[in-house]
Amino acid sequence: MSDDGRITHVAGTGVPVRGNDIDTDRIIPARYLREITFETLGPHAFEDERRQLNGKHPFDDARFTGASVLVVNRNFGSGSSREHAPQALMRRGIKAIVGESFAEIFFGNCTTIGIPCLTLPATQIESLQSLIEEEPETALEIDVGSGTITAGQAAYQAELPASVREAFVSGEWDALSSLLESNDAISAVHDRLPYITGWPAR
């Protein structure tokens, strides 16, 4: 990220987490939502799965230490709206996610905190995951503006909705500043809604 918040490129190594429909309860179990900050979440990402796999989860695999690009399969982040899920991944060092598809609220939460989620067809996800597993040191580079992902000698053309791409490239992925600009227009909508300002007489 540049000083002005623009996110145009993400570079680093990758970590594949395979499986369809990996829900936000699996990404961060609900007991870690018993907290009034996000700051301590990082170490708990995928905690229950990691315990069950006894060190064999990719997040515990030394080959993927320090990875910043998470590569996943279909419908990643389904379920709960908990922003704790992307916050945990971010605090664990994840800066971008590439997957076949994402659940909608998860995708929006990632955008709002500055994590681009790009999509590739299933076969290319499979190829990228295998590449990372075989050569974990492969340097990945994501050009957020064009959607091009280079992985060593390989290149992939990923997709990102135009509005989201624009938000990252312009540095306005956290919408609050833009939202605050429309003060008068917000008041106008507020004032015209009968359920707020009163029902017209009949």
Binding site: D23, A30, E49, Q52, E83, S170, L180, L193, W199
Partner: protein
């Protein structure tokens, strides 16, 4: 060409198109609970921002609240800390707060409608994915993350892309023993857990027309389990009758005027939809999940699927689910022994849910090795149920009768599965670890089916039991 309710509500609440192409959407009603809000209030304070319309946000406590203990400070120190945080936040910002002392506390998606806060034609947001529940009234209601909770507090708006609209029509009638929960599980089973991504679901047809508001809420609640962030039913006389006389609903003098606005907001007869799905109500059986997401579901008289039926990553998904659930491919789901039965959650904890469960439980006896609990969705539901004697029916059958909260739906309070217990649950998610034990196993079903399973000690077709 006419407009959908989605189109009309979107237009009425649109502040502007943002530079990124998304809509800045005004949120008419914002609901807040203790789990997803403390960081939002903190972010607001860090930026020196005030709450723009404190009278458009309402708060309660539901996720962490103990359901078997009412004395403060709570034994659970973290719960106590989160309660203190929300109490301070609402006090400093002037947001109305329904805690237990008000007699109106409960699960946020139960109390919103119950108090008449939820009304047709509104936009509603809450830091909770089951906010889709409120769509039962013809509102556009969706879950948001904590940063967006901050945005709503600061501006009463969010940045959001307008979804497409899919009309799901269920025709005919439901068989006896088949409930709203079975309808939505059947829809998710058919369209998949990501089939609704990018869509709002409009539920229409004879079956939804005939449903009570409680039943419509059950269906809309689980829209998100099918991937759809928004689900709604067009408002009609059933909705208006429900609203009349409720605390925050328009009073009698305004009601006709409100009714006209609500009627106008419904989808036009010639509205255009991006997609349509038609399902026959008669085809739906009592449903039970066998896997680790709500799309892994079958009729109670069906057989558990086999990984050999499919190819590729989907095969791995089925195998992975069966391994977790310790179920056998090709075996019937009926007869699966249970350890715990849970009636509750924002999906199925309303008075009609408790009545259906009580009707099945009445005269039965939960076996000693099964723990069964009933957790009403709100203090008001609890009071109403007790006035009808439902608590006595449940206690006599061996169920625990608790105070209002989310409880074992997500086990953020002390109500949790232990080890690999199997739970027949009227909640909404059968994800791994959802009910508090990483190895816990959840079977989603209707409240009547949960009561049947509780009494029988195993998954049982409620149609085969004497129906009251």
């Amino acid at each position: 060409m006419g407009q959908t309710l989605l189109d009309k509500v979107w237009d009425a609440h649109s502040v502007r198109e943002l530079p990124n192409g998304q809509t800045q959407l005004f949120i008419g009603l914002h609901l807040v609970h203790e789990v997803t809000s403390p960081q939002a209030f903190q972010m607001l304070a860090e930026r020196g921002l005030a709450v723009r319309y404190p009278d458009r946000t309402f708060a309660t406590v539901d996720h962490i609240i103990p359901t078997d203990e009412s004395t403060r400070p709570y034994v659970d120190g973290m719960a106590e800390q989160m309660f203190v945080a929300i109490e301070q936040n609402v006090e400093q910002t002037g947001i109305p707060f329904f805690d237990r002392s008000t007699g109106r506390q409960g699960i946020v998606h139960v109390i919103g409608p119950e108090l008449g806060l939820t009304q047709p034609g509104m936009t509603i947001a809450c830091g909770d994915s089951h906010t889709s529940t409120h769509g039962a009234f013809g509102a556009i209601a969706f879950g948001i993350g904590t940063s967006q909770v901050r945005d709503v507090l600061a501006t009463q708006t969010i940045s959001v892309a307008k979804p497409q609209c899919r009309r799901i029509s269920v025709s005919g009638k439901l068989a006896d023993g088949v409930f709203a929960k079975d309808v939505i599980l059947a829809i998710i089973g058919r369209l998949g857990v990501q089939g609704g991504v990018g869509y709002a679901y409009e539920y229409a047809g004879d079956v939804f027309d005939a449903m009570s508001m409680d039943e419509r809420m059950t269906v809309c609640n689980m829209s998100i389990e099918g991937g759809a962030r928004v689900g709604y039913v067009n408002p009609d006389e059933t909705a208006y009758a429900y609203l009349q006389g409720r605390e925050y609903a328009p009073n009698d003098a305004d009601f006709d005027s409100a009714r006209q606005w609500w009627t106008d907001v419904a989808s036009d007869a010639d509205a255009a939809f991006d997609d349509r799905v038609d399902i026959e109500g008669e085809s739906i059986a009592p449903m039970v999940t066998w896997g680790v997401n709500p799309g892994q579901v079958l009729g109670v008289d069906d057989l558990i699927p086999s990984p050999d039926d499919v190819e590729g990553l989907e095969r791995r998904s089925i195998q992975d689910a069966l391994d977790h659930m310790k179920l056998t491919p090709g075996a019937p789901i009926a007869g699966t022994p249970i350890d715990v039965a849970f009636v509750g959650s924002c999906t199925n904890s309303r008075i009609s849910d408790l009545r259906e469960a009580a009707r099945v439980a009445e005269g039965g006896r939960v076996p000693a090795h099964v723990k069964a609990l009933v957790v009403p969705g709100s203090q008001q539901v609890k009071t109403e149920a007790e006035a009808e004697g439902l608590d006595d029916v449940f206690r006599a059958a061996g169920f625990e009768w608790r105070d209002a909260g989310c409880s074992m739906c997500l086990a953020m309070n002390p109500d949790k599965l232990v080890n690999d217990q199997v739970c027949a649950s009227s909640s909404n998610r059968n994800f791994k670890g959802r009910q508090g034990s990483p190895l816990g196993r959840t079977l989603l079903m209707s409240p009547a089916m949960v009561a049947a399973a509780a009494v029988a000690g195993e998954v049982t077709d409620v149609r085969a039991m004497a129906m009251g």
